[in-house]
Symmetry: D2
């Protein structure tokens, strides 16, 4: 397992293919620091006695101890630990811990490549290719990002119906030694700080859409790949330093007629498995949300509780009601993930067929519980901001600039008139509100909200997953029985 | 274990102390039938191979196989099975299965009497008395109802401050051989069809309120006890019989200076344990809601799905959205209970102290998860009715009377103009809508909603439980750390 | 103008064509009483000095003073008065006042028949026929119900696509002296106590659906018309009489190949005007909701306030929050209607064309404001019940039967244990809860909710009306301007 | 009436008392530009034929034509015009038009000073002082900001109970020639660009709080006044200029033992009138919200509609539902203000007394309608952001930097992969999203939301206003009548 230093050393050697604000930059550019510090924590955590246990695992292919973020789940226990690792680490950074993309994509491709290889028309030994990639991934303790979201262009048209056929990443040429791909995956978290990029399809696919049924991996500085990167770093402090520097990035990952050799291809043309790959990544990722969203709610509860304490309203009924609502959202989200982990198995739910074995035995969390949890907590984020706003009052919106808080002509007056609670040190009150502002009223607050709402699938996607995967007919049977109706003919 | 017939036989012999609609009636009066049929199912279920496993348990005091409704939880597995038993049986009746009151009260008193007996001022051997009662309860396979809800009078006054001191059940005289109690427990489900009534306090108590800290049991036809009973039976069908006859009752259980011998007293005067008894019964009962509320949602999902099918709108986006919401409520409620079961232990959470051992080792589900689940699903019930109304349209509100559906002058015309979906037999459509009306638009529909909303504790009670039992300070620590504030001084 | 007695005398002479519960009954059957008492109030009100002014109007065709319920709006003032008359009268009965159906349908047909008569293919002199009918309607002070809602059968199919073509009322034969119609209008309020039935289309219509573009009037006991009637009366009191007997009815109005002479036909085949007729009746009726829904909220606020007073929680923050919410719903609904009245004119909004003159100069309220008001208050009704439940607690769900409250063996005990507020007479507390139960927990409570939710158009219908009639493009222009985008090309 | 140039010329001459980011700056500093441009529009509008009519008025004291923002309402028509002026001008800037503070405070002080002068203990001729100030205010066409919000310190303590007595602005010394005041008014919009600051109390006051019952005016660069200013300007564009430069500022307005001569004092010590002043400013300001909030919704509807058009989902049901919700919020808010204007009169509602004449005859909008409108639209703002996020998808959160959109190495690729709708020019799509980001995801978006939520009174303040000013007893009378209860004894 690597250290943060080793991780950074490797980043430093990568080809420059990051574009931002009109420049081409290297991986160790200072704008990358916030994100690198967050990711660095996933390396530090395996050496920290407090987190070592939940952050490491035993590889089922090599038997070696590996970073859990590179592990293929072998049991319900693994799913529980992944959920708890995510919550624990997110609590240390107050945001997305970022490395879940890799574990979620790897677990999806692991199962899909296994099934797809059975296909008589398989273009290469998908699962064998995958296992080779996976072994290096685990051994070298690499960071993978997952590139799933396509541009999607005209939203009501399918991939092959688009005016511009490149609106979804697809194969434009098939060669004996590999394939040429074109398109762009967008909003790709941490691609700028990852070693590898794992590409999976974005949606269910039909016959005639074979070129879009595509899983592969490339190094993130690969020839033919350009990343246009957006950074979300909190503003540097002039005076009231919090001793942290956390942030994140996302990329337009552009495949500009990029050649992929067969050994890096894990699916190519099997439309049904392509759809499953899309679903499974989403499923594993929604399971990750059962760790990170409760962690974000832990933070929001802390912010709300502290704002209420400073404002002296912690015990009022309307604050209690709002705190209770935040706790409900967080813990219902956690309970959904907990149940999904506990009911995990090496099977997937197929509408009309029920649960069927899928993949080589690796564990898949229960889909319904993953989806109901993600949907609840994803939909709640704007309301959480409303609660913070309600409790905080207007203070954060007009908070003085740090330099005014230090200017001798205004400092004493401002400290006097910022004070709400005379029992808390003014320096602590100031630091609190600056942190509160970073979280809720800064330039990156909006992006974070959009990520929390749409990341891992917009609420409407979970609704669709829930209703298509739930056995509604069996609930109608309850009604048929109680109403005295003719029983359903079982097939 | 008894059969339904044996259960009824015993009911038939009881003293007449039920008052309803101006009459005094016996236990086998026809108004009692609906409720007895529901309760009877809890006896039948232990003989049914399909439900036998989850509906029986091994008594930890006698080692005998007993009805699970009379069992003291010995493990997380027991808690899981109780949750699943409740969901399964409620699905058979489309309403509350009623017998959970006994198991929930018994588990609360089991732990509380054990702790209270340690008190140097204990007035009798509470736990020994309790174990004797429990052994008979299990051996004779009795049905117990739980009497918790007091009249409460002026809501913002404490028990001892009331204009009328009898607004909470209390001891009015202490004798050498027992105590005399006065007051009324109200809205007591199934008291009219139970063998025993277990009485527990209704709220946290302070010094000076000793007379209200009271747990005891009486036979439900006991001298000095009057029950004024309200019945909630569905209307009898004239023509379109569904072959079911289910209902429920609730009683004003009035203790009119009723003498209780010491051997039936399990707590008397220990105010702190009285508060715990109130909390623990509520906790166990909210755990029951993680079984019955998902079951009710199973039924509601079935009603909504069937109404949508008949109206031909099953695939429209707004119906999908509503079905998804119903599924979310049900399964998040279930997941909360599942997690509460899995994290169950022989400890209770004490604000300021964290988890502390409590009781003789019997298992208590996690309080936070029980409360967030109950609060979510309890608050949702009116919205569920709105969804049913939205999907059904006006049809159920103006549905023809059964006799018009049979009258030769109107029958053919009505059958023609009731039809929405030509592919479903008209008889089935009629039976469906009659069942739908029973559930949502009948005289008992409103009562059922009130029970689902307030039973087991109104939403505001769960909010209070959640915020007082959640470790909000530890969430503020996350903020203190991220904001760079002074760390909290740990005690 | 008639009196209630004259109105009833005429009802007594009508042909028996009402079917209910397997019987054929006369208009003065006791089941009709509740509804007749409500309607009777609209006759009494014109003689009552307090209500005379808003309940009468001057006919624009005869110049005579008439009951406002039979008036064609000639000014914004008329619209204001109709809204206020509706609120005032509904407050006297605590439910729908029922006669708005007639005024709303009459105003719609008045404008539509005028426009349709201009059509070169008009089959008869629609507007002249109409004016003759109207004059008698006003002179004889008749009650009209409006029959709009069709069965609709398979919901996603248009009228002409239905498996059974009679799912919408339509012309099955055209003769020289009139037309023959077949089909059923369902959920028709007050048809059983009305003198006349006005029939209007239920939806927008296309070419090829001419037989469904149909407006006409028949006496409600007309040959060929059968009514299957459902009654919604509150339960008769045994002891605690409130001195009221109010209720309502609705009918399946079945046209069993019913012949309509041309002089009673106001539209026949003009599909575009048929759609406008559907829209206009809905519009006028949503305007009525801006009177009746605030009235219902007045009642709900009173119930909530009184329940809070009895429970002693009137000043608690959560009750204040709920009362505030109820007031908001009621008064926003009223304000929407007020604005719609004030902005009324003799024009309708045509998507893509804006406001265009329509009809002979009679006033039409603003559609957007009518729709936003109805949508808000219609969607709120289940939540209102939740608020009542929240404030009342479990008491209404298990309230003793009247006979138990009088039985000497239980009376004193029950009076003691029902008491919440020692400062309010127990008889008043009992009467209050019985009224509360009638409103929220009785058999007719569900039907009333369904009516409030769907009557006048389900919330989704208002959403459609709002989005199709709102000038969204002009709002995009604001964005185009602020964003510096290319201005929209104006046509 | 002045021009924008004259307005700016005067600003340029003012004393430097603005502190920001550690500097002391002049009124024409470039950070002030955004706000000045917005305010400038209120001067331009009186010369623009399109807006001249609603933006001017005839002074009731001089008979001259004045800017409506400096007018005292003389009729319901004036209230209507003020509402419409606000909506119209806000639509030109896509934000608060800022000058309403002056008109709202002036109308409040106009009435209050009139009533307070009648007090036998009045310390000076309040209303005469006021009229002198007002005449100059109108003649010189000045801009006034209103300073109401106090620091409030420990929220559950009253002004005189605070640990630091300066948490509310108060009189610290009374002299023969005037008073000395100390304290800070916070979050004061446009104070940095106003000519005058009008100070009014922040809350209801009791006996013993006389020093806090205080209305006065000072020039905004007055000796003894320091402003610490926060700016909310949109980011300057590098390439995709929208040709606008709008923004706003708010100040901590600090009175550091500031002397106020009697002729500028309009209330000093009359606690009851102090409370009315607080209420009346809030009331007039909530009336302003019935113009600005619908205007903001016009903008939000435009953003949502355009985002939906670009994403190609404008006709989908879930987008229609969301657009309908936005329209409802905006138009119900407008209707509430419209009704409040139309029912305006020279009276205020006093709980327990009903409407009583107040002030010298100037018009006051109806309080209930102002409050229900503000409450609805204020509470909705976070949900509006959720809707925008839902419709936009992830695009705005990761949008490329302008320089990347111009960099030859990335430009063509980005233009290709940003495109959603091939029928809209890419330059327009880019400008749209940049504007969308400014509105919802920028540093100032959060502040704007906080302002929209709390400005003019947080939702809880409207709840309190609504429930204390609504005649709930009269609604209970409806229940008393319908339930057959004893009628209320009228006083």
């Amino acid at each position: 397992m690597r250290t943060k230093a080793q991780y950074m050393e490797r980043l430093g050697k990568m080809r420059h293919n990051l574009y931002t604000n009109g420049e081409k930059i290297g991986r160790l550019d200072e704008r990358q620091e916030g994100a690198i510090n967050v990711m660095g924590l996933t390396f530090d955590a395996v050496w920290d006695p407090e987190t070592k246990d939940i952050c490491t695992a035993t590889s089922h292919i090599t038997g070696e101890t590996i970073n859990r973020f590179n592990h293929i789940h072998q049991s319900a226990e693994d799913l529980h630990k992944k959920q708890d690792m995510t919550r624990t680490l997110c609590n240390k950074v107050g945001q997305c811990i970022q490395r879940c993309m890799g574990i979620d994509a790897a677990n999806a491709v692991h199962a899909v490549s296994y099934e797809a290889q059975k296909s008589p028309k398989a273009k290469t030994a998908y699962h064998e290719n995958w296992l080779k990639w996976l072994e290096r991934f685990q051994k070298e303790d690499l960071v993978a990002s997952c590139a799933q979201t396509d541009v999607k262009g005209e939203r009501l048209k399918r991939p092959a119906q688009q005016t511009d056929p490149d609106m979804y990443v697809h194969v434009v040429e098939e060669r004996s030694d590999g394939i040429v791909v074109r398109g762009s995956k967008v909003h790709i978290s941490e691609a700028s700080i990852s070693d590898e990029i794992l590409v999976v399809p974005n949606r269910a696919l039909k016959k005639g859409e074979e070129e879009y049924a595509l899983c592969f991996a490339v190094p993130s500085d690969y020839e033919g790949v350009k990343q246009v990167v957006h950074y979300h770093n909190t503003r540097k402090r002039d005076h009231f330093d919090n001793g942290k520097n956390f942030g994140y990035s996302d990329s337009y990952v552009i495949f500009d007629d990029c050649f992929i050799p067969w050994e890096r291809v894990f699916l190519c043309g099997e439309t049904q498995h392509g759809g499953v790959a899309a679903l499974l990544f989403a499923l594993f990722h929604r399971h990750s949300y059962s760790g990170c969203k409760p962690a974000m709610l832990d933070y929001v509860i802390g912010l709300a509780g502290m704002a209420a304490e400073i404002n002296g309203i912690e015990k009022t009924p309307h604050v209690r009601e709002m705190l209770s609502e935040l706790i409900m959202t967080g813990e219902l989200g956690y309970a959904a993930g907990y149940t999904a982990s506990d009911l995990g198995k090496a099977e997937v739910y197929m509408p009309g067929m029920g649960f069927v074995p899928y993949g080589p035995g690796s564990y898949i969390p229960n889909s319904i519980y993953c989806n109901v949890g993600r949907c609840l907590s994803g939909e709640a984020v704007f309301h959480e901001q409303e609660i913070l706003c309600n409790i905080a009052g207007g203070l954060p919106a007009t908070f003085p600039y740090e330099n005014d808080l230090k200017n001798p002509e205004t400092r004493a007056l401002l400290e006097k008139y910022i004070t709400r609670n005379p029992n808390i040190a003014i320096e602590d009150q100031i630091k609190f509100w600056l942190n509160f502002i970073d979280f809720g009223l800064s330039g990156s607050a909006g992006s974070m909200l959009y990520g929390a709402y749409h990341g891992g699938g917009s609420p409407i996607m979970e609704q669709i997953a829930i209703t298509t995967q739930y056995d509604i007919e069996s609930k109608k049977d309850i009604v048929r029985d109680l109403a005295g109706m003719t029983p359903r003919k079982k097939k």
